[in-house]
C-alpha cells in the first residue's frame, strides 16, 4: 500500500523486531483484534446501512439500496448483488481524482468475491419478483471515510451488518388479461421483509506478513511494513469462502497455513460477536414498533 506515504527503515525495523518477539506498538499481541465498533441503520435514505470503526483510524460506511432490475437470463429466478467501494478523498489526499482507482478495484473485488456466488449464503431467490423478467438488485455501496489499516475486514463487517439491517419491500404480482405479469411495490415498511439467511454471510480477517511472522488486524504503519497480506473470508459454519493474497511479497507454505488457521479462528469469534449485536438491534426495532414509533419507508419511495 505504497500510496499511503513512506515508512523509514528504522520504523520498519522497529515493527519487524516487535513482531518477532510478539510486541506491537499499541500493546496488542499478534493475534489480538481491535474490537470493531458497529452502528446499524444510520442512513435514512437507504434500505439498510451500517458503519464500522476499527481503533482510532479505520472508518467505513456501507449502504444497501434495493433497486428494480431486469432478471439475468443465466439465473432468471434470482436477484443479484452489485458491490462498489469508494475511497473518499477525505481519507487521504492521495485518493483525489483517479488516485484511488486501483485500490477501489482491489477492495470492490475483495468484497464481491465474498458476496457473489454460493459463498454469500444469501437466498437470492427471495429477490426474484417475476421469474425471467424483474428482480431486486441490492446495490451495496461502501465509502471508506478514514483509512487506518485493515479496511477489507472493516468493509465486510459493515456490509454484513448492513445486510442484516436491510428490509426488502414486498411486491404483489398480478396476472393481466393477456397473460403478461405486472406487479406493485408495497410502500408500507411494516410489510418489508428482512433478507433470509443473513447469518450465513461470511466475514473477512486479514493476516499481514511482517518479517518472518504475521499479525492480525494491522494498523496503517504495520500495513506499510507488511510484505504480503492474506484476506481470508469465513462463514459461520467454519467454511473458507474466499482467500486471497495481496501485496508484493511471498509466503512460505507453513506460514501460509498458520495465517489461514489464525484468521479462521478470529473470524469465528467476530461472527459470534456480530450475531449477538444484530440480535440486540432487532429486539430494539421490534420494541420501537410495539411503541408505535415511526419507522422509515422503503428507499425507492423516498
Amino acid at each position: 500500500m505504497a500510496s499511503f506515504g513512506l515508512v523509514s527503515q528504522v520504523e520498519r525495523d522497529f515493527v519487524e523486531r516487535g513482531v518477532d518477539v510478539g510486541i506491537r506498538a499499541d500493546g496488542r499481541a499478534r493475534d489480538d483484534y481491535r474490537p470493531p465498533r458497529v452502528e446499524l441503520g444510520l442512513v435514512s435514505q437507504s434500505d439498510g446501512s451500517a458503519r464500522c470503526q476499527l481503533g482510532d483510524g479505520t472508518d467505513v460506511l456501507v449502504s444497501v439500496r434495493c433497486e428494480l432490475g431486469q432478471a439475468d437470463p443465466a439465473a432468471d429466478d434470482r436477484g443479484r448483488l452489485a458491490v462498489s467501494v469508494e475511497c473518499s478523498p477525505s481519507a487521504s489526499q492521495r485518493f483525489e481524482g483517479r488516485g484511488a482507482d486501483d485500490l477501489n478495484t482491489e477492495l470492490s473485488e475483495a468484497v464481491t468475491r465474498a458476496l457473489t456466488g454460493p459463498q454469500s449464503g444469501l437466498n437470492l431467490r427471495q429477490l426474484c419478483i417475476v421469474p425471467g423478467m424483474h428482480c431486486w438488485v441490492l446495490n451495496i455501496d461502501a465509502i471508506v471515510l478514514n483509512y487506518g489499516g485493515n479496511v477489507v475486514d472493516a468493509l465486510l463487517i459493515a456490509t454484513r451488518a448492513a445486510l442484516a439491517d436491510t428490509r426488502v419491500p414486498r411486491t404483489v404480482v398480478q396476472e393481466m388479461e393477456d397473460g403478461a405479469m405486472d406487479f406493485e411495490v408495497d410502500d408500507d415498511v411494516e410489510n418489508a421483509q428482512p433478507l433470509e439467511h443473513v447469518h450465513n454471510v461470511p466475514l473477512c480477517v486479514t493476516a499481514n506478513k511482517i518479517g518472518a511472522g504475521y499479525v492480525l488486524d494491522a494498523t496503517l504503519t504495520e500495513e506499510l511494513c507488511a510484505s504480503a497480506r492474506l484476506h481470508v473470508t469465513v462463514n459461520s459454519s467454519g467454511q473458507v469462502c474466499a482467500a486471497q493474497k495481496s501485496g508484493d511479497g511471498a509466503i512460505e507454505p507453513s506460514l501460509l497455513m498458520a495465517m489461514l488457521q489464525a484468521a479462521k479462528e478470529q473470524a469465528r469469534r467476530l461472527l459470534e460477536q456480530q450475531d449477538e449485536q444484530i440480535r440486540r438491534h432487532e429486539t430494539e426495532i421490534a420494541a420501537k414498533r410495539a411503541r408505535g414509533e415511526p419507522v422509515k419507508r422503503p428507499s425507492i419511495f423516498v
Binding site: E106, Q119, Q239, V240, C241, A243, A250
Partner: protein, 264 residues
C-alpha cells in the same frame, strides 16, 4: 423508426444455453473408474504446450496451451519510467491482462472490465516476489497477456501467470526463481486439478483455487480461492497445487532450455 435501438421482439429467449461459469445446472460428469473426461485422474492437469519466443517484436514472449485454454504473453522492456509516474528506486511491473473479445462464451468488450483489471493486479502480485526489481531502478517492465480461448477462467489465470514468468525469463529479466501457477476446482467436495469450463461450475458448493509458487524456493507468491469449502479440503487442495507447481516448473525449464539451444 428509431434506428438507435435494436429492433427486436419484446419477449425473447436465450439462443443457446450459456455454458458460462455462472450458468446453473451444468454439473461435472461423474468419475468413470476413478478417471475424469480424457482419462485424467482427479489430481492430474491437462497436458501443457509451452513455447517461448513466438512474438518477434517483444523482448520476451511465451505461448501456453492447456486443453482448449490458450494464452499468449509478451514482455516489453525494461524501459524508462514515464516522468508523471514519478521516481522509483525499485523497478516496477505493469501488466495488462485481456480476454480476446471472442475468447469466452459471452462476447467480451474491448475495454478491460473489473475482472480483467483484477487479474492484471494478481499477475503483478504473483510475479513481483520472483524479480530482482532492485536491479532495475527508474524502470518499468510491461507484460501483456491475451487470452485467445478461455476453457475455465481459473485455469486461464494460472496459465497466464506461468506464461508471464516464462516470458520474463525469455526476456532476460533478472529473477530469483520462476513462478509456476496451478488451478483446481472443488467438485462434489473433492479437488480436481485444472478444470475446463464444462467441469468448472459455480453451482451451490462449487469452488476454485489458483495458487502460484516459486518451485525451487518453495515460497507461495499468490493464492486466490473462492467458494465455500471446509478447512480440511482447502489444506489438501493447497498441498495438491504445490505438487502440481513442481511439475509445471519442469515444463517451463524444458521449454526455456529448448529455445535457448535452438538460438545458439
Amino acid at each position: 423508426m428509431d434506428r438507435r435501438r435494436v429492433q427486436g421482439p419484446e419477449t425473447s429467449v436465450v439462443p443457446f444455453p450459456l455454458l458460462d461459469d455462472a450458468a446453473p445446472g451444468v454439473v461435472a460428469p461423474p468419475l468413470q473408474a476413478g478417471k475424469r473426461a480424457g482419462g485424467r485422474r482427479p489430481e492430474d492437469m491437462r497436458p501443457i504446450f509451452l513455447r517461448t519466443g513466438l512474438i518477434s517484436q517483444a523482448s520476451g514472449s511465451a505461448y501456453i496451451e492447456m486443453g482448449r485454454t490458450k494464452v499468449a504473453c509478451a514482455v516489453y522492456g525494461p524501459r524508462q519510467i514515464k516522468k508523471q509516474q514519478g521516481f522509483s528506486e525499485q523497478g516496477r511491473l505493469y501488466c495488462e491482462f485481456k480476454f480476446a473479445t471472442f475468447a469466452c462464451k459471452k462476447r467480451r468488450n474491448h475495454q478491460r472490465d473489473s475482472q480483467e483489471k483484477e487479474f492484471s493486479q494478481v499477475i503483478v502480485q504473483a510475479l513481483t516476489p520472483s524479480i530482482r526489481l532492485e536491479k532495475l531502478p527508474k524502470s518499468v517492465v510491461d507484460i501483456y497477456v491475451t487470452v485467445v480461448e478461455n476453457d475455465g477462467t481459473a485455469s486461464c489465470l494460472a496459465a497466464a501467470i506461468t506464461a508471464a514468468s516464462t516470458a520474463l525469463a525469455d526476456a532476460g529479466v533478472e529473477m530469483i526463481d520462476l513462478v509456476a501457477a496451478a488451478s483446481l476446482a472443488y467438485q462434489q467436495r473433492r479437488p480436481e486439478g485444472d478444470a475446463p469450463t464444462g467441469e468448472n461450475t459455480r453451482e451451490a458448493g462449487a469452488a476454485d483455487l489458483v495458487l502460484a509458487q516459486m518451485p525451487s524456493l518453495g515460497d507461495v507468491t499468490h493464492l486466490l480461492h473462492r467458494g465455500p469449502v471446509d478447512w480440511a479440503q482447502m489444506s489438501r487442495a493447497v498441498e495438491q497445487c504445490i505438487d502440481v507447481c513442481a511439475k509445471i516448473h519442469a515444463v517451463m525449464v524444458h521449454s526455456l532450455r529448448e529455445h535457448s539451444a535452438a538460438e545458439q
